[in-house]
Structures are given as structure tokens and as C-alpha cells.
């Protein structure tokens, strides 16, 4: 097997759920539990799931904004989850992130040109003219112009700000960009523009993307491979075509049935009952047990293995035959 660009193994992250005061019992919830996935060079990996399933936490751990409790994140073979801030800094250049709300991710006190040039400056570009040339180049690449160089972030529209967020990630030639819901806050007509742009940029610059979204249509459009997350863990993973042609996990099926699509008048859909529970540290059994229409006795006691059901198609469910 060739070396993966990014390989995540048994990643786990917990957050305090209840502090319990000085004497009470402290409880922690697992945001991400036993998560493993790989991203290849030039691939777009889509991570889809409902809010609170741990997809954003996963993205933040990859770019080092959150430290993992256990497990490893191998980037080009090096474990970045255990690196100190100092060791990690040279790799920052290659691992970038686009936020859902780019406006709040931009320093409100600086002009756009200053923001972008400063990023270049800290990565060692000392020549002023070169910095400015590169900034204008990147602005053009994301569909902004020289005129925006002197603007403040709050003077731009929502779509332009998102383009700027992408420009900030692109400017230092990253290899992997984590896109955390980059189009969720936008209007559909603007969303389409940004999606097209991301897809073209990815092809042109041979980027790898980890695309995090709750919108199944968006994920399907942009991803090569998709992982479906539920309650901190992957329940299904395969390439996009297979997933939509043949979803295996009951959660994936109900998720697809719930998409409001103007052209699929679903008829009588099966509304999923209940809501996502909280995963405590002593959680047992299948993550989807509480809402699954096919749940059996074994699902309650034993967590299903995340196994390859068909070549290249993994799922975690007791009810799927090999």
C-alpha cells in the first residue's frame, strides 16, 4: 500500500460533561471515539453527519487546534498529534483550514492585503514586492480583484468573505485543507459559486481536501470518498458513487431519506424517531442503537466492528451480511 497523505488511527477526544463540583462525580463525553480514516493525495474526503457527531472536532484535531486524548494522526508518516507547538509549526504551512464563518476568522482591524501579506511574512517571505505579487495572484485565483486588497473584511459580502477565507488558506501552498462547513452559512446561489471554485482549485493545485458538512447534497457533489459519522464514530465509508447507489448502514439510509429534495417526492418517508444521545465514556454497544429500526439484542451490548463489507466499502453494523 502506498503511503497515505493522512492517516488517523483510533482517535479519541473527550470533553468534560459535568464538573461535579469539588466532590461530585466528574463525567466526560466522547466527542470522537475510536475513529480511523485515511486521506490520499489529491483526494476529497467528505465527512458528513449531524451536529454534535464530532466531525468538526476531528477537523480541529488534524490542524492542531484541539489536542487528541489518544490515538494518532499520521501526516506523511509523522505523528502530528503528539508534537509540541514548536515542532508542529513548520507543518502548519501544509495543513490549512477554512472556517464556516470566515468573517470572524479575519482580523477586523487590518486591511485584506495586510492580513494576507502577514501570513506570507511569518512563513519567511521577506521581500515586500514578492509578497504583494503573491497576494494579488491568490486574490485573483479566488475570484477577487486588486480592488479588494485595500478593503477591510467587514466591507465585503458573505460570498466574498468566504473566498477570502479560502485565499488565506491557499496562499502558503498547503497540501491538505480542512474545510469546516465552508458553505453552510451562504445562500444557495453563492454556495454554488464557492463549490465550483473549490472543485476547480483542487484540480488545478492538486490539493487534498477534508470537507466537513451536514449537507448531503454538497458532500456528494464535492467528495471522492465519504465517511458518515454518527455519535463520534464512523458508521460507513466508501466512494461516493457506491455510497449513494448502495447505502448499507441504517443510519445512512434514513439520512438519505430525510433530505428534502424538490425532485424526489419521497412519498412516505420514514422519519427517524428520537435524537442523538450523549456518548459517555462507558458507552457500550452500537452508537446508533437507540434510534435504529433494526436494533437487536447484540447491538445493545457489543459495538459492531467497522469492517470491510464489500471491497472498499466499510460499515459498522451487526445486521449487514458479509
Amino acid at each position: 500500500m502506498s503511503e497515505h497523505l493522512l492517516e488517523i488511527k483510533n482517535l479519541k477526544k473527550t470533553f468534560p460533561l459535568r464538573n461535579g463540583g469539588w466532590f461530585g462525580k466528574k463525567e466526560r463525553m466522547c466527542a470522537v471515539d475510536n475513529l480511523s480514516l485515511t486521506i490520499e493525495k489529491g483526494e476529497t474526503y467528505g465527512l458528513v453527519g449531524e451536529s454534535g457527531c464530532g466531525k468538526s472536532t476531528t477537523g480541529r484535531m488534524i490542524v492542531g487546534l484541539t489536542k487528541a486524548d489518544s490515538g494518532s494522526i499520521l501526516y506523511e508518516g509523522k505523528d502530528i498529534s503528539k508534537m509540541s507547538e514548536r515542532e508542529f509549526r513548520p507543518l502548519r504551512k501544509e495543513l490549512q483550514m477554512v472556517f464556516q464563518n470566515s468573517l470572524s476568522a479575519l482580523n477586523p482591524r487590518l486591511r485584506i492585503g495586510e492580513i494576507l501579506e502577514e501570513i506570507l511574512q511569518i512563513h519567511g517571505e521577506q521581500d515586500k514586492a514578492k509578497r504583494r505579487k503573491r497576494v494579488l495572484e491568490v486574490l485573483e485565483k479566488v475570484g477577487l480583484s486588486e480592488e479588494h486588497y485595500f478593503r477591510f473584511p467587514h466591507e465585503l459580502s458573505g460570498g466574498q468573505v468566504q473566498r477570502l477565507g479560502i485565499a488565506g488558506a491557499l496562499i502558503i501552498h498547503p497540501k491538505l485543507i480542512v474545510c469546516d462547513e465552508p458553505v453552510s452559512a451562504l445562500d444557495v446561489s453563492i454556495q454554488a459559486q464557492i463549490l465550483n471554485m473549490l472543485m476547480n482549485l483542487k484540480k488545478e493545485l492538486r490539493l487534498s481536501l477534508l470537507f466537513i458538512s451536514h449537507d448531503i447534497g454538497v458532500i456528494r457533489f464535492i467528495s471522492d470518498r465519504i465517511g458518515v459519522m454518527y455519535l463520534g464514530t464512523l458508521v460507513e465509508e466508501t466512494d461516493t458513487e457506491t455510497l449513494f447507489a448502495n447505502p448499507l448502514h441504517p443510519y445512512t439510509k434514513t439520512l438519505f431519506a430525510a433530505i428534502p429534495d424538490p425532485y424526489i417526492q419521497g412519498g412516505e418517508f420514514q422519519a427517524l424517531t428520537g435524537e442523538q444521545p450523549v456518548r459517555t465514556e462507558d458507552f457500550q454497544g452500537c452508537a446508533f442503537y437507540s434510534r435504529c429500526p433494526y436494533a437487536k439484542e447484540i447491538c445493545k451490548k457489543q459495538a459492531p466492528e467497522f469492517r470491510e463489507v464489500e471491497p472498499g466499502h466499510k460499515a459498522a453494523c451487526h445486521c449487514i451480511e458479509k
Binding site: 470572524s104 492585503g113 502577514e118 485595500f150 488565506g168
Partner: protein
């Protein structure tokens, strides 16, 4: 500034003009700032220039002209020793501005250092903030009197005492806004882009702290003037017979019913000075907030 004016193309010139117009509009939509600023500058100019051009000694007594009403050679009248009140109010302004300004600057510098350190190091935070809590728990004026009683009365000791009184509140403001800014998405984004902690501190947190600090500084300035006047009034401030608003109010209390101007003039000076500083602070708060446009908050 990374961007120099000389390299501006024609298109960007228009943007700068537009941004300047917006700034101007924002300023004009903020009468508190303008009135406060003009009032404060006026007081400073009077305090600086009147004693230069008017050579009357503020402490020169003329026993024949005791308790003259305002007008007729004495703009504000005279006090019970026949001293020119107008000149004394102006000299008093010097003292007040000097004390207030020093206290504002010292407590802001000290408070910023403490606040920033506290926001960065958890252990230090606990220690520093508990000390601040302790200091804040004691009523300010009482603390100042106690300190002066220990140190002795002099203008430097007044400044020192008031600085100790006001530093904790600055430290708290700075610490809170630094903590808020640290949680902002743009600081996280900067981390992802590889900014070092030191750079984040200087380029993002400090500029973010500056604007609430300026506002706080103008309020402290005003409060310090009141405190100084109160201390002098109580005899724990600037030693008499030096002209200070507090001293003048104190000496007027015996003759107030016969010569109300002896109290009204320094009292009005305190009120006007504090009012314009407070207006200035209120105005600055709106003006320095990048999210407020043209006097109104963006929806």
C-alpha cells in the same frame, strides 16, 4: 503600516476616500465624542495658558479685597483671603489634570501588564486576580486615605495611592478582553496559519485590548480627578495652601453662605472636567468599535 500611500493605484484612492468618508460620518454621528473632546481640550488649554499669560500669584493675598463677588477685575471673585479665584481655579486645573493624567497612564500601563500576564498564565491568573479582588473589596477612597496616611501628603503620594486604587479594575478589564479575543475565530485561524503565540499577543490581542483600555483610561482620568478633589477636601490630598479644586472647596465651606461663588466656581470646574471626560469615554467606546457603523450597530 504594511501598505504605503505611494503605491496606491487610482482605484484604491477611491476606496481610501470612501473609507475616510465613512470614518468622518461615524465621527459626526457621535456628538458625545465631539463635545467631550472639545470640552477636555478647552480645559487643558486654559490650564496651560492662563497661568502663563496671567502673572497673578495664586497664593497672593490681598486682605482689602476679601470675598469680592465675581466681576470687577476678578472674573470669579476672591476668597476669604482675597486670593483671585479665577487664577486659583486655573492652577487647580493644572493639579487635577496632572494627578488625573498620571493616575490614568500609570494604572493603565500597570493594569495592562498584569491583565495580559493573567490571561496567559493560569496559575498567575489565580494569584493576581485574588489580589485584585482584595483591593477592589476595599472602598477606593478609604484605601487611598489609608495609603496617604502611611505615606504622608504630597502630590506624588496622591498619584501613587490612586494608581494602586485603580490598577485592579484596569487589570480586570484587560484580562477579560484579552480572554475574549483569545477565543475569537481569527486568533484560531492565525494559529492554524502558523502565527507564534508572541506574534498573536502583539498583533491581535494587544490592539484588541487598546480600545477598551482607552475608554477605561478616560473614565479613570475623570474618577481620579474626583478622588483627588475628595482627598484634598478631606485634607489628605495636595497640602494647602496649594491651589487645588479640593482645597478650594474645603476652604469655602466656612464662607459658603456669604460668598457662594467660592464653592460654585471650583465645583463647576470639577463637574465640567469630569463630564467632558466621561462624554469622551462614551464617545470613544462607540467610535473605536469596528462593528459600529455611522453611530448605529450593524444588525
Amino acid at each position: 503600516m504594511l501598505i504605503r500611500r505611494k503605491s496606491i493605484s487610482a482605484a484604491s484612492e477611491a476606496i481610501f476616500r470612501e473609507q475616510r468618508t465613512l470614518k468622518k460620518e461615524k465621527l459626526l454621528a457621535n456628538p458625545a465624542l465631539i463635545i467631550g473632546f472639545v470640552g477636555f481640550v478647552l480645559i487643558v488649554l486654559l490650564a496651560v495658558f492662563v497661568p502663563i499669560f496671567n502673572s497673578t500669584d495664586p497664593n497672593a493675598m490681598e486682605v482689602t479685597k476679601r470675598l469680592q463677588p465675581p466681576g470687577d477685575g476678578y472674573l470669579f471673585g476672591t476668597d476669604e483671603f482675597g486670593r483671585d479665584l479665577f487664577v486659583r481655579v486655573m492652577y487647580g486645573a493644572r493639579v487635577s489634570l496632572w494627578v488625573g493624567g498620571c493616575v490614568a497612564i500609570f494604572s493603565c500601563v500597570l493594569g495592562t501588564i498584569i491583565g495580559i500576564y493573567a490571561s496567559y498564565f493560569k496559575v498567575l491568573d489565580q494569584i493576581l486576580m485574588r489580589i485584585c479582588d482584595g483591593l477592589i473589596a476595599i472602598p477606593g477612597i478609604l484605601l487611598a486615605i489609608a495609603l496617604i496616611a502611611a505615606l504622608g501628603t504630597s502630590s506624588w503620594n496622591v498619584i501613587l495611592a490612586l494608581t494602586i486604587v485603580y490598577t485592579p479594575s484596569v487589570a480586570r478589564t484587560v484580562r477579560v478582553s484579552a480572554l475574549v479575543i483569545k477565543e475569537q475565530a481569527y486568533v484560531e485561524a492565525a494559529k492554524v496559519q502558523g502565527f507564534s503565540n508572541f506574534r498573536i499577543l502583539w498583533r491581535m490581542i494587544l490592539p484588541g485590548v487598546i480600545s477598551p483600555l482607552t475608554v477605561q483610561a478616560s473614565f479613570i482620568f475623570a474618577q481620579a480627578i474626583i478622588s483627588e478633589a475628595s482627598l484634598s477636601f478631606l485634607g489628605a490630598g495636595i497640602p494647602a495652601p496649594a491651589a487645588s479644586w479640593g482645597n478650594m472647596l474645603e476652604s469655602s465651606k466656612m464662607v459658603f453662605s456669604r460668598a457662594p461663588w467660592t464653592m460654585i466656581c471650583p465645583g463647576a470646574a470639577v463637574i465640567l472636567c469630569v463630564l467632558s471626560l466621561n462624554l469622551l469615554g462614551d464617545g470613544l467606546r462607540d467610535y473605536l468599535d469596528p462593528k459600529v457603523k455611522g453611530g448605529k450597530k450593524k444588525a
